[in-house]
Amino acid sequence: MIDILLSLLILTGAVFTFIGSLGLARLRDFYTRLHGPTKATTLGVGCLLIASAVYFSVREEGVSLHEVLVTLFLFITAPVSAHLLAKAALHLKVHSLAPEPEQARNEEQIP
């Protein structure tokens, strides 16, 4: 029973990690590429970490919850790095499929 749950979690995690990077390679402009790694990869690694927590809790005595720490950390940092990357890309006027917003141009002077 635990085996099936673990396998499911590991497989889901690996598939999402894969799809995130596939999006990185496949999509056409920087801003759409940003979506794959931020969401899919983060959830994928989250699934793998939960699988690891379950595995070590079952195998050894006592619960093993320190994987939750990395999961939390990733879920907090992923949107922050995505936001900074998008900001840097807007600053550098990276090629975009969508028309760039007006405000971004007005912000140029402000550090």
């Binding site: 999509l27 907090i76 900001k87 917003p101 405000q103």
Partner: protein, 165 residues
């Protein structure tokens, strides 16, 4: 009380983090964790200019539920879009006017937007009035703005800001 224990929530969080880090629960580590949680807020007092108060714990709990559900939904959504291929996408930038005033509220909203379906927050304007959001597959921009405001901004405002203004 206020001077002895400036950030009770932070103290509790740090103690729990310590216990997670050492990965075992025994009295010694509990005491050490609480001690660190008590001392660190003094050392980092300069980094916590705003005093955070949570007003509606029930709303916060419901918000967290919606948030976790949306993370899963968002990942499936973006995975499906990636598999479908790049040619069908319709990316756009949308502008969300902000009603939140506090830095904490705005950053939580921006982070939530980045993890939920089809949107990544890209830029907060210098006057903190608008948030520019990139959407990967835009249907109706106005409806998306309305959904963001209704689904995330209203509860965040209730939790952290009601009564402040």
């Amino acid at each position: 009380m206020k001077r002895l224990l400036p950030h009770p929530l932070l103290t509790l969080t740090l103690a729990i983090l310590w216990l997670l880090l050492v990965n075992r629960l025994n009295p010694g580590h509990l005491v050490l964790g609480l001690l660190l949680g008590w001392l660190i807020p003094f050392a980092t007092a300069g980094f916590w200019p705003e005093h955070v108060r949570i007003r509606h714990a029930g709303v916060l709990l419901r918000y967290l539920m919606v948030f976790i559900y949306d993370i899963v939904r968002g990942s499936f959504h973006v995975a499906w879009l990636i598999l479908k291929g790049p040619s069908r996408l319709n990316p756009a930038f949308i502008v969300v006017p902000l009603e939140l005033k506090s830095d904490l509220g705005i950053s939580l909203l921006a982070n939530t937007i980045s993890l939920t379906p089809g949107t990544v927050s890209s830029l907060v304007s210098a006057d903190k009035r608008t948030l520019i959001v990139h959407t990967i597959d835009t249907g109706n921009p106005d409806a998306m703005v309305a959904e963001i405001k209704q689904r995330y901004e209203v509860p965040l405002k209730q939790i952290f800001e009601e009564g402040d203004v």
